[in-house]
Structure formats: C-alpha cells, structure tokens
Symmetry: C2
C-alpha cells in the first residue's frame, strides 16, 4: 500500500528490549545513524542501501514499531525522521550513547562519497 498515516506507538508503551532489538541489527543501525546525521526528515527514496525495497520497508516497520522513527506521508511518497526528543524522554541518554560510539558503522549517505 501507499503510505497513508501509519500507526506510531506512544513511547511510554515501548519496552527497552524492543528498542534494543531494533538497534541490534547492522542495517537498521545504519538507517538510524543516517537519520541522526541530518536534522529533520529524509525521503524514503533517498535511503539507498544495498537491499531490496521490501526489505527496507520491513526494517522501517520494525524501527517504527520500536518508536525509533516517524513516518510522514506526502502524496505517494513518505519521509522518515528520528523521534529523538521523545526517545530522550523515555530512554535518557540511550540514543546519544548509541550514536556517539565509533564502531565502523558510518551513516554513509549523508556525505557526498
């Protein structure tokens, strides 16, 4: 289906294990880093990773259900953004510590190269 107002969980309903599971996967962590590297939102199509489209949709769904990202629909296309402020309220310091650690998993898509 084309994106039409997705369900986003309230952060207070999200458990820590759910968030950690969502982040504990290389591709999803890359996506989160990618989103964190830019203020605001990012177009779906601009998230280019070496995976199939359905796989990306699947990962975004998991991130969405974990309360990590927000989907906004605009016509046929949609835009993804990090729910960083809400995340900070629910899990203080978690996102920052995950993002600030250099582990060789670069955003890779925010810089020109």
């Amino acid at each position: 289906m084309a994106p039409r107002e997705h369900a986003h969980p309230a952060l207070c309903d999200v458990e820590l294990v759910t968030v950690l599971s969502a982040l504990a996967e290389p591709t999803r962590l890359r996506i989160v880093r990618m989103l964190a590297a830019m203020e605001g939102e990012r177009a779906w199509k601009d998230i280019d990773l070496p995976i199939a489209q359905s796989t990306l949709s699947h990962h975004l769904k998991i991130l969405r259900n974990a309360g990590l990202v927000h989907n906004r629909s605009e016509g046929t296309r949609c835009f993804i953004s990090l729910r960083d402020d809400e995340l900070e309220s629910r899990f203080p310091g978690l996102l920052e510590s995950v993002l600030s650690c250099g582990d060789g998993l670069a955003p890779e898509g925010t810089r020109d190269a």
Copy 2:
C-alpha cells in the same frame, strides 16, 4: 567442562551491534540488571532464573563474548561480574542508560522477595 579461565575479548574489539544484540534479550537483560544491582561479583549458582542450567550457561557465554561480563573461576565454581568500567570507556553512557530505564524488567534476585 569445569570453568577454567575463560576467554574474554578486549573491549576495543567488541562492536556495538554485538553488545546491543546481547542486551536485546529479556533473560540476558535481567542477568545484567542483576549484576548491576550489586557491587562486585555474583556466584553462578546464585543466579536463579526459571531456565535450564545449560541455557544459563549459553546466555552467560553470549554476555561474555559481548564483553559485558567477566567470569572468575575458583575451584569448581565461578563468579560473574559486570565489566562496567571497561564498558563505560568503550561505550560511554550506554550501560547506564540501559540500566537506569524502568521497563518492568526488575533485577529480581537482589531483593528478598
């Protein structure tokens, strides 16, 4: 085998995804909370959870390989401790943010009840 000086990875060789994967499981998170709730180490046998012994051993191995815990052998029994200081150096703020969030997953084994 009886515990005889296990292999512990250097924290600098541990990747973030490995740590997150290790923490993204209810039982293991419980163990980590349990260890964090007390200064120092905890005897293997005192970790009583509703799981088989082999399963506990398996989880401890994963936590060990993720650099989260340390095993010390003393005769036939062994003692587990959190590598919190080293963890803090490698992933600043991560462990603290994970531990400080109330998510209904209590240590349950450090209090009397």
